[in-house]
Symmetry: C2
Subunit: 277 residues, 2 copies
């Protein structure tokens, strides 16, 4: 008799709920997005849905109607009635007995949460500390997949050092990005971040930072830099959907600038807010 | 109101089953093993449990009693009553609202299946075709984690080419291993496979191949080789728990030897069986 065991309970295989056979848990075989709302309106939903569609296509999940995803996000957001909300959603390839090779006719599984999002005012006002971690991720970080164990391990390592984010450093000694954020340095009048490639998530917030900078006027340079260069930057910040721009005032053991959010970062934060509202 | 949406159904957050909040699906935050039985006896369970304990420790899941895992595996196997069984089990860090950083007191989730395992006699008698794929995996493949999307994509690519396994090739142009197997070449009297390192799973079956070879007497060389070298090998095979040794008779477009399982591979297969029975 084929069986499953869930915690310490034995269940005949035919009675195992499909959620236990989700390829999401067997393989991380799915992709996700996080969007947020500002004051009752979901921000940049189309950009996130476009990226979601790209991620789905990249891993060959073809049976998803993005219009339906959009409708579900909107319906869930409206139902929750949370003005400043964080909306997480993922789609996995579906549920089936475990086998690497998949049936293309599997029905994808959809899961979404809408939760309260409190802006972390202290982090934004005072800045955060970050720590570096080797970039152990796979080679297709341009796909926003559920294979996030290296991100978890890096974030936990950072948390153990009292840091709010981990900054990945690749084998060449170059910073790629944060474990769940894009990473920027300001060197004089230069705004620098790693170029988009297979080892970088095409961050939506990164795009809005670049947009916000049009009114600040720093020279944008998409070129990777090293931890030593970061430690010597005039200003540093991370960019992430849930918090937009958060100043970084400590990089490993090095205090950045005078240990307070820098003036260009504050200008970018203000310009970002004007894009949002 | 914080809510979740499962497929198209909205559920208040407090009513969402913990299985939907499994860090296994959010992050692939867990590790797994596959063991098999031969004729009513689980093979090499201790070796697999030792590796499982190492994987758990490597990702910081500390609240697992390996004796309890052993007891569950044995209980499930006994209950199933399948003589030649495949036993899959995983442990994830636990269930919680999604957050990279985790609470060390989370209760891990255990899941196991026992299913019928039919030896693929045709594959063993005739050999299989394999195809190469870039090794997109993370940098800690020595940890048997649930982050298996690159393995899925490679296996699906191979299946599309009529191949039974994908063989990973790293950025340096060297073969690491199969998407779910170890990979060996025989060059004259030399038995060659990649050395164990962070980019290779310490395969239990690989260890038994090396053990079986003591009675065959090939010279073991643990050194990586290239796809071009593999295509010129006298014999090739994969080693995997569920099938032990399976000869490879086609490597990408190249027929290996005379297109039939080679004599040294067949000797290793026979010696492997004597270890098992």
């Amino acid at each position: 008799m084929q069986i499953a065991m869930i915690q310490d309970e034995i269940v005949p295989m035919e009675e195992v709920g499909s959620v236990y056979l989700d390829r999401g848990v067997f393989f991380g075989d799915g992709v996700y997005e996080v969007v947020r709302s500002y004051n009752g309106k979901v921000f940049a939903l189309e950009e996130h849905l476009q990226r979601f569609a790209k991620s789905l296509a990249a891993i060959g999940i073809t049976k998803v109607d993005i219009d339906e995803v959009r409708a579900r996000v909107q319906q869930a957001f409206d139902t929750a009635g949370i003005s400043n909300a964080k909306i997480y959603f993922h789609i996995t390839r579906g549920s089936a007995p475990r086998n690497h090779v998949y049936d293309k006719n599997l029905e994808p599984n959809f899961f979404l949460t809408v939760t309260e999002l409190a802006d972390d005012t202290e982090a934004k006002n005072k800045g955060i500390a970050v720590s570096t971690h080797p970039d152990w991720r796979w080679k297709r970080c341009d796909i926003k997949s559920l294979n996030l164990l290296p991100n978890v391990l890096a974030r936990q390592d950072a948390a153990g050092k009292g840091c709010a984010e981990a900054i990945f450093v690749d084998d060449a000694g170059l910073i790629t990005e944060g474990a769940s954020s894009a990473f920027f340095g300001i060197f004089g009048q230069r705004l620098q971040t790693a170029p988009l490639a297979n080892n970088i998530l095409p961050s939506i917030t990164r795009g809005f930072v670049i947009e916000a900078n049009k009114n600040v006027g720093l020279e944008l340079v998409e070129k990777s830099f090293t931890p030593a260069q970061a430690a010597d930057a005039d200003e540093l910040f991370i960019a992430v959907t849930t918090q937009d721009i958060v100043p970084v005032v400590k990089f490993d053991d090095k205090i950045i600038g005078d240990g307070k959010p820098g003036s260009s970062t504050k200008q970018l934060m203000a310009e970002f807010q004007s894009l949002v509202l």
